[in-house]
């Protein structure tokens, strides 16, 4: 009997991956998620500024009055402050959920999961608070609310050290809520991209107009023409780069893929190949995010 027990324990140890092995993907997932959240924060944050600037440019072209009431008009905003807060809280909770999922899958889950559960718990509190202020018509509201409910159950189970139940619930949440939430966030990013494209397209026309107006004047100034030409070049450069200025979009795509791999791993037998696949998915996540991080640096 003792020999059987020993063999069983040895088999378990051979099959298991050391806790340290899990630490790295958790940290890298966490770091990459932070960059995505920061990129999304910039995209969301600049969305309203972009609309305001486009309106001002439009008034200049039309030679129309600019009135402060118009600048603070809700119609000039893509998202209000409450909608913005829900999105940031959702992204934060999604990242924390991924970290908990990974912690629950590790060998020393009870110890490791406690910190991750507390962290997710904080994120859910913030999410619930922001959901209370979001307008009912906001399409992300019901999905985020559903996610917050299940995630709260996961943290409770994790803190009670009911690891298997917590893991199952976390997988359930991922399969049912996380997928939809990430899809909605990606849709947001597509919409913001389209608004950016429309604004830049208008700037292209304004830039060529300035040049052509000067050219057709009675006495074209070479200096003004050169300045206008420089502006055309700058605008065209931005236009050429537009497909690269997708902001957090590709990062959210990568986050979605990494999340799917986390779930697949959580469901797996945790064999070395499973961990390799997970590491590879997180590598891709980190690589995609590195590009975004560079873009953020250049913005700042």
């Amino acid at each position: 009997m003792k020999i059987f027990n020993l063999s069983f324990l040895l088999a378990l140890l051979v099959g298991c991956v050391s806790p340290a092995t899990y630490q790295e993907p958790i940290i890298r997932f966490q770091q990459a998620s932070t960059v995505v959240i920061e990129a999304a924060r910039i995209d969301y944050g600049s969305a309203n500024k972009l609309e305001r600037d486009a309106f001002i440019d439009q008034q200049v072209t039309k030679q129309s009055k600019i009135i402060l009431d118009d600048l603070r008009n809700e119609k000039l905003r893509v998202l209000d402050g409450d909608q913005l807060a829900v999105r940031m809280a959702t992204l934060d909770a999604l990242a924390k959920h991924g970290e908990l999922l990974l912690a629950l899958s590790s060998n020393d889950a009870p110890a490791r999961a406690k910190d991750a559960a507390n962290s997710l718990d904080d994120a859910i509190l913030k999410l619930n608070s922001s959901l209370g202020n979001a307008p009912p018509s906001d399409k992300i509201k019901s999905n985020a609310g559903g996610f917050a409910t299940i995630a709260a159950e996961v943290t409770k189970l994790a803190l009670e050290a009911k690891i298997v139940d917590a893991l199952n619930k976390a997988i359930f949440a991922s399969d049912n809520q996380v997928k939809d939430l990430i899809r909605l966030l990606k849709e947001d990013m597509s919409v913001l991209y389209e608004r950016q494209r429309a604004k830049l397209s208008n700037e292209r026309v304004a830039a060529t107009d300035t040049f052509n107006i000067e050219l057709e004047s009675q006495k074209p100034s070479m200096e003004k023409l050169k300045n206008a030409a420089t502006k055309i070049k700058v605008t065209e450069d931005s236009w050429e780069k537009l497909p690269l200025l997708l902001g957090a979009g590709p990062g959210i795509d990568a986050m979605q893929r990494a999340h799917l791999e986390l779930v697949r791993y959580a469901k797996s037998k945790k064999e070395p190949q499973d961990l390799n696949d997970l590491n590879s998915a997180i590598d891709n996540f980190v690589s995609s995010v590195r590009i975004i991080a560079d873009a953020i640096k250049s913005i700042h």
Binding site: E51, A54, Q58, T61, K75, L76, R77, V78, L79, S137, D138, K139, E187, S190, V191, L192, E194, R195, R197, A198, S201, N202, R204, V205, T208, D209, N212, I213, E216
Partner: protein, 112 residues
Amino acid sequence: MSNLTSLTSIELIRLIGNVIVEIDVLRSNFSREDNNRKKLDNFRDQLDTIQRKLARSVIDENTGEYKKLTEKLKKNNEELNQTINEVEKVAETLEKLVKFIGAVEEIAKLMP
């Protein structure tokens, strides 16, 4: 070749964006005082305003009316694409834009 499927709201926003870009290219051929330019500027503003409204609103993509209207919009868009790249066909394009914007406005009415 017409593809008679309706559009998701994201596809709708993107399609409007494509037309805005095409209008911008076309209107840059004319001086600001030109009548064609003024009409194109006006159409552009209308589409820009509707696109912004769509960006911040929720529209039910599952109603029969929405599906029917976006199918119609796709047809209008196909017709528009036949001339919008040709400056000499601007009169024809302006007529098609009236139809296109009319269809977009009908969809916009479905927003809450």
